[in-house]
Symmetry: none
C-alpha cells in the first residue's frame, strides 16, 4: 500500500521526469523524440523514463504509425502536478496556443481539425452525445441533438462502410483528440453544406462564416 505510494513518488521524484511531466501539463500529447529534445537527453534515455511513467500510469502512450504520443494519463495526475506546483507557488500559466488560422480550423483528411474540432469533441463528450474512450458510440441524446440540428443521423448510422464509425484522432497542432471516422466526416460535410464553414481555396484551412459562428455557438457552445 505505502509501497505503491513510494514507487510512484520515486518515479515522480526525478528531475528529468518531472520536466517531462511539466511539458505534458498543457494536455497535449508529445512524441518520445520531442520530449527527449525538450529535456535535453538521448532518445534512449527518454524511452526508459517514459516507460517508467507509463508503468506507474502517470502517462499513457498512443501509437500512431511509427510515432508514440505520450500524454498525461488522467486528470488526477494533472491535479497532483498542480498541487506540487502550488507548493513552489510557481504555477506557470499553461502556454496558450497562439491560434494561427490553420491551427484554428482546418481539415484533417476528411474531417475537421484544429482548436474548433477539439472543442467540438469535448463538448460532445461532456454533453454525453457520445460515449467511449477512443472508439465512440452515439448516445440517444447525441443522436437526437444532431438530428434536430439537421443531420440525417439515421442515414449515417445505416451506411454500410468499412470506415470506423467514430474515433479519436490526434490533432497535430493541438495534440489533443478530435472526432474522426464516419461521423466526423459526415459532420464536416454537413457543416460545409450548411455553409457554416467554407474551404480555403489553396490550403486545408476552413473559414468560419458569420452564420457558422452563430450556429457553432448555439449548438456546440463554441465561441470563436
Amino acid at each position: 500500500m505505502q509501497n505503491k505510494l513510494a514507487e510512484i513518488s520515486t518515479v515522480i521524484g526525478d528531475k528529468t521526469r518531472i520536466n517531462m511531466l511539466c511539458l505534458l501539463m498543457d494536455g497535449r500529447a508529445y512524441t518520445a523524440t520531442e520530449l527527449s529534445i525538450a529535456v535535453d537527453i538521448a532518445p534512449s534515455t527518454a524511452s526508459v523514463h517514459l516507460n517508467k511513467l507509463v508503468e506507474q500510469k502517470l502517462i499513457e502512450c498512443l501509437k500512431q504509425g511509427k510515432y508514440r504520443y505520450f500524454r498525461l494519463a488522467s486528470p488526477a495526475v494533472a491535479q497532483l502536478l498542480e498541487s506540487l506546483m502550488n507548493l513552489t507557488s510557481s504555477l506557470q500559466s499553461i502556454p496558450s496556443t497562439t491560434p494561427d488560422e490553420l491551427k484554428y480550423c482546418r481539415t484533417c483528411y476528411d474531417h475537421m481539425a484544429g482548436k474548433i474540432a477539439v472543442d467540438l469533441l469535448s463538448f460532445m463528450k461532456q454533453e454525453a452525445w457520445i460515449t467511449g474512450e477512443n472508439e465512440y458510440s452515439l448516445t440517444p441524446i447525441g443522436s437526437e441533438s444532431l438530428t434536430q440540428m439537421g443531420l440525417n443521423i439515421k442515414e449515417i448510422v445505416t451506411t454500410k462502410s468499412k470506415k470506423r464509425f467514430a474515433y479519436a484522432c490526434l490533432d497535430w497542432s493541438e495534440r489533443k483528440e478530435h472526432l474522426s471516422g464516419l461521423l466526423g466526416s459526415q459532420l464536416l460535410k454537413f457543416i460545409l453544406d450548411k455553409k457554416w464553414c467554407t474551404r480555403h481555396p489553396h490550403s486545408r484551412e476552413l473559414i468560419v462564416t458569420p452564420s457558422g459562428k452563430k450556429s457553432l455557438s448555439r449548438y456546440f457552445n463554441i465561441t470563436i
Copy 2:
C-alpha cells in the same frame, strides 16, 4: 522555476521520506526519534531526511526543550500527499471510507476533531478569542468568554505541562485546522463534563447531546 519543482519532487521521491510524510498525515507532530523508529532507520539518518523535508518546507520543526516536533508544513502539503494517494486508488483515501459521523465529530488523541472542531476553531479565531498563526495565545476576550462559559481558564493557564498550550492541528478528514494542545484537550474535557458530547463506546466518535446542540449553537454559533 522548474528547478525548484525538481528539487521538491526529488525530496518527496524517497521511500523513507514518503513513509515519514504518510505518518505525519494524521496532522500530529512527532519527534525525530519517534519517526526514525516508525520507519526503521537510525536516528542520524532520520535527522538528515527531516532536514531535507524542512528545507523544502514540506514539514516544519517546533523545538521544545530537547525534543524536536515535526509536522506537515501546510494544508497544501497534505493536499499534495492526498493527490498522490488518489493515484494509487488505495481506498485508504480518507473521505469515501469514513462514516459521516466520524467525519463530523470525533476525537483526535485528546482533543476534538471533525467538522465541529474545525468550525469551533474558526469561530474562536474570527471572534478574536485566540491569536497566532500556528501557535495560539488566548486573548483577554477569549479568556473572559471561556470563563463565562464555565471553563476554569485560570487553572489551565497556570498548569505546568510539557504540552504546548494551543496550536493548530491538521484535520484528518477536513484537512483544516482545529484546536489542539492543552487548551484543546481541556476544552474537550469540559465539553464531556458538561455532557455536551458523549463518547461512543467503541470508536473515537463523539455524539452531540441535545443540550450540547443548544450550547454549541449559543456559545460558538455552530449549528448541527
